[in-house]
Symmetry: C2
Subunit: 352 residues, 2 copies
Amino acid sequence: MSQTAESTGPRRAPTMADVAKLAGVSHQTVSRVLSDHPNVRDSTRAEVQRAIEQLGYRRNSSARALVTRRTLTLGVVACNPTLFGPASMLFGLEEAARDEGYMVSAVTLRRYTAKALEEAIDHLSDWGVEGIVVMVPHRAAVAALAELRLPFPVVTVEGGHNLPIAGVSVDQDLGARLVTGHLLAGGHRTVWHVAGPSDWLEAEARVQGWRAALEEAGAEVPPPLVGDWTPLSGYRAGQELAGRVAASSARRGAPEVSAVFVANDQMALGVMRAFREAGLSVPGQVAIAGFDDIPEAEFFAPPLTTVRQDFTAVGQASIRMLVSRLESGTTDGDERVVIEPRLIVRSSTTQI
Amino acid sequence: MSQTAESTGPRRAPTMADVAKLAGVSHQTVSRVLSDHPNVRDSTRAEVQRAIEQLGYRRNSSARALVTRRTLTLGVVACNPTLFGPASMLFGLEEAARDEGYMVSAVTLRRYTAKALEEAIDHLSDWGVEGIVVMVPHRAAVAALAELRLPFPVVTVEGGHNLPIAGVSVDQDLGARLVTGHLLAGGHRTVWHVAGPSDWLEAEARVQGWRAALEEAGAEVPPPLVGDWTPLSGYRAGQELAGRVAASSARRGAPEVSAVFVANDQMALGVMRAFREAGLSVPGQVAIAGFDDIPEAEFFAPPLTTVRQDFTAVGQASIRMLVSRLESGTTDGDERVVIEPRLIVRSSTTQI
DNA sequence: AGCGACATTGTTAGCGTTCACAGACATCTA
DNA sequence: TAGATGTCTGTGAACGCTAACAATGTCGCT
């Protein structure tokens, strides 16, 4: 009259032993079936498979990780994933990781301090990640990272090239040279620049490329304005620049504003609004170029000349690098992969 | 002459036993220190802490998960996280999860089929997530989800209200009514609509809200155009609409195009470009409104009237719901949290 | 028949934690 | 001083899996 064991309770997930008993084999045989070991008789394999299906069995990942010493999990520290760039990287990165058989756990940073970064990494370590990708192109953060000497491989994205950390990056300098060169070739005497926050490595590299391009062309280097990547900050910078356009004939000491390279597309949008409101035509009176090629850029008024970064490729490359380090057991070394950006010319810089 | 055990090899991470030996206590005491158990003498605690520091010890999460049966990991299935909406939700969600002591693992969907969703969930299950948030507002996907009967709690985001699944959503219907009402109040005889893909629940709800608002106002309901959320598709729809504006006096059967409600901001951008190219002024000849309030919307030419969704709040609410279900052990029930959207009026709909 | 090689299966011992329980010792009460 | 209560600490057994090895059966060959 006894039922099949307990009938109530939040019955626990079936274990390998349960499957084994049902299939009439040992738990080890079940393990062999699950890991596709060749030496299992076909009939046995079928029997085990049936038992697995019937019980809805799934391997317990914790037990497995405990004995194999592999969590198959990678960590990512991301900055503001609301922006198109970081989001795309995360997308490509996750896909690549999954293809390699890893799971990705991401932590987003609220503040860009060394402490916040350490906390984020701590959090990931607590969960046993095997390696991490740090997507925080922020000077202080990367410097802190270099100090850290973590017990697992670390790969940075846009982490700069001065530090002994492996990483993937887009050639920001080249990108900036491309746009600046393009504007100069359009006949402008010089090119103004609205930069990103000075503690962002990407912003710095773009400033450098811009400056170098101007200097090489023998053009005057106007003082760069600084924004914070948001359209609003671009708008403010745009107002400032618009004032200079109006006053340019009267003003001494700064060259005429006829071309502006803005460090990202969002700020460029803000700049264009400011110009529009000031009655300046783009590209008629002022040419504008951005950076990133967000999906909206092609539809701005006017469509924006910009530099396309293949974010997805960056994400994928970072995973490939991380996985290869994982497999080879390398924790340090400063291997670098650089991805070339591409100039996309649209009507914000070209008179029709 | 014997050294302190082996000196070479990739020495394994220290374990609790190592700490215990160094501190001269049992492993259990170490465990107690780590979990802040009160009954540990202060001097012992200090000793253990020192040993932990010295060895750089970290608790092994797999072993811990194995015995406690808690992985403290939540899964997320996201659709295209490159878009502002999904990305923001992911952001808010991760932050909320971290505050609750959970780790988040995200999987992004490449295709929106039932099979792809099942694979994604399988992937997450393999890693032992305790519950998942499904952010795929796609009809087929959500329907498949309802069939699945998973052994852990599931919360949907924008999952529609016809199915017996718990979830969080923004009141899309209300949002659409707000914009449509706003446009009608602006004196337009009717409002055209550029919808999202028909198999997206959000798109459908917006169509419904728009239609209802028109019908309640006794306005004619023009046939909705359909896009795929991208600026390009909006551009195409815009060209179509621009054609109608030009031909409107001559054409029979469809009302005049003087106001358009576009189902998201990106498409609205495309529509505006098409209108600009057709020489139509916005809002002079045609008023346009979008949906989402992406950060760029305020800086479009002209700034776009739209509906703001608090994506971050949605992400947070979904985690709260998931965690509460986790704690109460609920797997089913169709609890719903609805978040109200807000109309943001800008100059794309208001004559100055 | 006897032996080796191979295929197939089972047995045992961890992996590094936490939990339940059992000691040891100190302190308080009668 | 005996007993009862606490406080602190240690011991042993899980948790569910894989790895190493041992045990069986099967086949072919001499």
